[in-house]
């Protein structure tokens, strides 16, 4: 019951974060901060999915680390490329 409630709260959180990232991205005066916030939100959402939905919180550390690192590495690379151009 508690786990079901946690999943429901996380689902709502994911939806709210999605709306927030769309809102931040539309702010014309926050180009750099908007980029950072949108990418950070993406990392948080992906972490929630991999840890709680995929169930990697109880997986071997190597697989968990690989999955946990995937989106932060991609997001930071994209952020760097966007920032430099």
């Amino acid at each position: 019951m508690i786990k079901a409630l946690l999943r429901f709260i996380l689902w709502l959180l994911l939806l709210l974060l999605t709306l927030a990232s769309a809102s931040f991205a539309e702010q014309p005066d926050m180009r750099l901060y908007g980029l950072i916030i949108v990418l950070l939100i993406t990392v948080v959402k992906a972490t929630v999915i991999s840890e709680f939905f995929m169930g990697l919180a109880g997986a071997p550390w190597l697989w968990r680390a690989l999955m946990m690192a995937y989106v932060p590495v991609i997001a930071s690379t994209i952020g760097t490329i966007f920032f430099l151009t």
């Binding site: 429901f8 994911l14 991205a25 949108v38 992906a46 995929m54 071997p60």
Partner: protein, 195 residues
């Protein structure tokens, strides 16, 4: 130091689903990582073309698609939990809702493609549309494959093929579906939000 406890904790940590599925997921994530990098690098080389192309996209559909995939993932994880709790009928219900959200994604994405093609944009229009159709089209195919797999496991749940201690096949498909969701979570800001 409690060696027995340490051994038990280590042994109890296991991947959800089959190892083969996780190797496949690893390969898919690598392929998409390369595509993301190619897209971002190409954008750096052609900023005006990408800015103009991105402004033509329907970001409302992109937002709705994100909501649809996140919701679908939520119902899939609920379905796995229901099977593990021996609540087969709940699991079937959750899976059907998950499939419905997945279908909503396919319909919305198809509408978006139709709008783009109707407006005269295609793979050969410019470098932005080339990578836009390549990235989103590759992901679209993954969603369709995921929906086929979800339908298959729904039939298996209905046939009572998964039991409380035997959910590996269902967990493998669920992991694949969550991976499709994670990939879209990167695709959505990359293509629609970050101008």
């Amino acid at each position: 130091m409690q060696p027995d406890k340490a051994i038990t904790t280590h042994a109890s940590r296991q991947l959800p689903g089959d190892l083969a599925m996780w190797l496949f997921i690893g390969a898919e994530l690598t392929a998409f990582a390369l595509l993301f990098m190619v897209y971002a690098s190409s954008r750096a080389l052609h900023p005006e073309v990408f800015a103009q192309g991105q402004s033509q996209l329907n970001s409302q559909i992109g937002l709705l698609n994100t909501m649809a995939l996140l919701s679908s993932s939520y119902f899939v994880v609920n379905a796995v939990a229901s099977v593990k709790a021996a609540r087969r009928h709940w699991a079937i219900g959750h899976l059907l809702v998950a499939i419905s959200f997945g279908l909503a994604y396919v319909v919305l994405k198809s509408i978006e493609y139709y709008q783009s093609f109707s407006a005269g944009y295609g793979l050969t229009t410019n470098v932005f549309y080339q990578y836009y159709f390549l990235l989103t089209g590759f992901h679209y195919l993954h969603v369709i494959l995921g929906l086929i797999l979800l339908t298959w496991v729904t039939l298996k749940v209905a046939a009572n093929d998964y039991t409380v201690g035997n959910t590996s096949g269902l967990e493998s498909v669920a992991s694949y579906w969550h991976m499709v969701d994670v990939l879209w979570l990167v695709l959505f800001p990359l293509v629609y939000l970050l101008h």
